[in-house]
């Protein structure tokens, strides 16, 4: 039969030699190999103290961005919800009242903005769909929770705090 690839290796079926049959040299060789590993670099990371750097394309938890003056960028257009294949995003729009200009950037804003992290598949389509650069996926993990309702993230979970400067991803 013709070999499909040139990587096939013939099986060595020759009987074991005396040194192979007494096993001890092979065992010593194996022990030498494992001993070398004691001094090798550890493959593990001390997790809570040390975190592994993510790749720049990593998609973690969402964040709702603010503009340079600290106003919410989201105008509740709903494009993210429409683009979401898992239908994890729900929102309710409201109209900006006079005197709230320092809070919201446009006349319309999201009064309620929820992402169900149990449904979210972190595809990043919401980030791509957003015309206002309001939603981004960050480099944090989704944290654990004891209750299912704890995974529905509201605006208070998603909005970056006002003191922080908005830092859009490069």
């Amino acid at each position: 039969m013709q070999a499909l690839t040139n990587r096939a290796k013939p099986v060595d079926r020759s009987p074991l030699t005396f040194w192979e049959r007494i096993y001890l040299p092979a065992i010593l060789k194996g022990m030498f190999i494992t001993f070398k590993h004691i001094f090798q670099r550890k493959a593990t990371v001390n997790y809570p103290e040390q975190t592994r750097p993510f790749s720049p394309v990593f998609r973690g938890l969402h964040i709702l961005n603010r503009d340079e003056e600290g106003r919410e960028r989201c105008t509740a257009c709903g494009l993210c919800a429409v683009s979401c294949p898992a239908e994890a995003i729900t929102m309710e729009a409201a109209e900006r009242k006079p005197g709230e200009e320092h809070l919201y950037r446009e006349e319309k804003y999201a009064a309620r903005y929820e992402i169900n992290m149990l449904r979210c598949i972190f595809c990043g389509f919401c980030e791509e769909a957003c015309p206002k650069d309001a939603i981004y996926l960050t480099e944090t993990f989704a944290p654990s929770n004891y209750q299912r309702k704890g995974f529905i993230y509201g605006k208070d979970d998603l909005l970056i705090p006002e003191q922080q400067l908005p830092a859009p991803k490069a």
Partner: protein, 348 residues
């Protein structure tokens, strides 16, 4: 107490020594479980326990606490007395062997001379064999009392393994005893103090002894009694909580004691090269000797772990074939050759 003429200092000394040796074995066994995981982690490029205390040093305590608080189940229709006796016996037997091991030379405190050996009996090696063979009862009782046929099968498997390897174990030692001419461990160590270590005269005997010690302690590659992955889990299948803990702990004590035994019989025990030419106080030399013995023991403990994380298990028929077809004939040949050499040297 003049009637019996018992020297109180003697009794107090022995009680102190016994408690000391027991504590030592327990602490070493505790930290062997920690060491086992650390060695495993290092060999597998991991870090091992590092949460409980500095570098995970409190891990054994955490494990003990966990075992104590686990639910304890005694199977319905099992023989409760035997069920409890099994792990107790395993633990007791493991601790008993330490009595004849010389942990060091003599200490002189206030005119009294204390020997760092609980009992220097002149049949020390025989005592060890007697006690070690009792260890099978712990395993058999555990398997039998569980009232579980798989446990029983595993217990039979374990017992036959231990009995098979005990033969080669004993035969390999006979060759050594021919050289030393004494069954007292203290004598054997003292002889090595003034001459070469026995491993120089008995390399094959040591190898057989080492392999058998691995098998007797149920350590990889001979840990079929508790091969939980491919067999059913072993004689302690029905055990939970601290009773299981006792079985596992007894294994570590056994490891410690057999390491001490190997160090004493073949590697000079508490003696170390240049021991008598240091010109130090006797007590200091004794303490140094104790540390020398301890270093040897730690090396053997490490060897146990090192081998465990290197070699896979034997198949059961391979294990039996190695014991009966290889080790016992080799031990007999070793014995005959040693005997011939001893006779030849006496004749010359």
């Amino acid at each position: 107490m003049t009637l019996l003429a018992i020297e109180w200092a003697f009794i107090i000394e022995k009680i102190l020594l016994i408690s000391g040796v027991l504590t030592l074995s327990l602490v070493v066994a505790m930290y062997s479980t920690w060491g086992e995981r650390k060695v495993a982690a290092w060999i597998q490029d991991r870090r091992g326990p590092n949460r409980a205390g500095p570098i995970g040093l409190l891990q054994p305590l955490a494990d003990g606490g966990k075992l104590f608080f686990k639910e304890e189940i005694i199977p319905h229709l099992s023989n409760k007395f035997l069920f409890i006796l099994g792990p107790s016996l395993a633990m007791l037997v493991a601790c008993m062997t330490s009595a004849v091991i010389p942990w060091g030379d003599v200490l002189t405190i206030g005119g009294h001379t204390f020997s760092l050996q609980v009992a220097d009996i002149n049949i020390g090696v025989l005592y060890i064999f007697g006690v070690v063979s009792l260890g099978v009862y712990g395993i058999m009782l555990g398997g039998w009392a569980s009232n579980n046929k798989f446990s029983l099968l595993a217990a039979i498997r374990a017992a036959s393994q231990i009995i098979s390897y005990e033969l080669a174990f004993g035969l390999s030692l006979i060759a050594l005893l021919m050289l030393t001419g004494s069954l007292s461990l203290k004598d054997i160590v003292e002889q090595q103090r003034h001459g070469w270590w026995n491993v120089v005269y008995q390399p094959l005997g040591f190898l057989i002894f080492l392999i058998c010690a691995f098998a007797e302690c149920n350590r990889t590659p001979f840990d079929l009694p508790e091969a939980e992955n491919e067999l059913n889990g072993g004689y302690h299948l029905e055990y939970s909580s601290m009773k299981l803990g006792f079985y596992l702990f007894a294994e570590y004590i056994n490891m410690f004691i057999s390491s001490a035994l190997m160090a004493s019989l073949y590697f000079g025990g508490y003696s170390f090269p240049g021991m008598d030419s240091l010109g130090l106080d006797q007590n200091i030399v004794t303490l140094l000797g104790f540390f020398a013995l301890f270093l040897k023991i730690i090396f053997f403990l490490f060897l146990f772990m090192w081998v465990r994380w290197t070699i896979p298990r034997f198949r059961y028929d391979q294990l039996m074939r190695l014991g009966w077809n290889v080790l016992i004939p080799l031990a007999i040949v070793n014995m005959l050759v040693t005997g011939a050499l001893v006779l030849w040297r006496q004749g010359a």
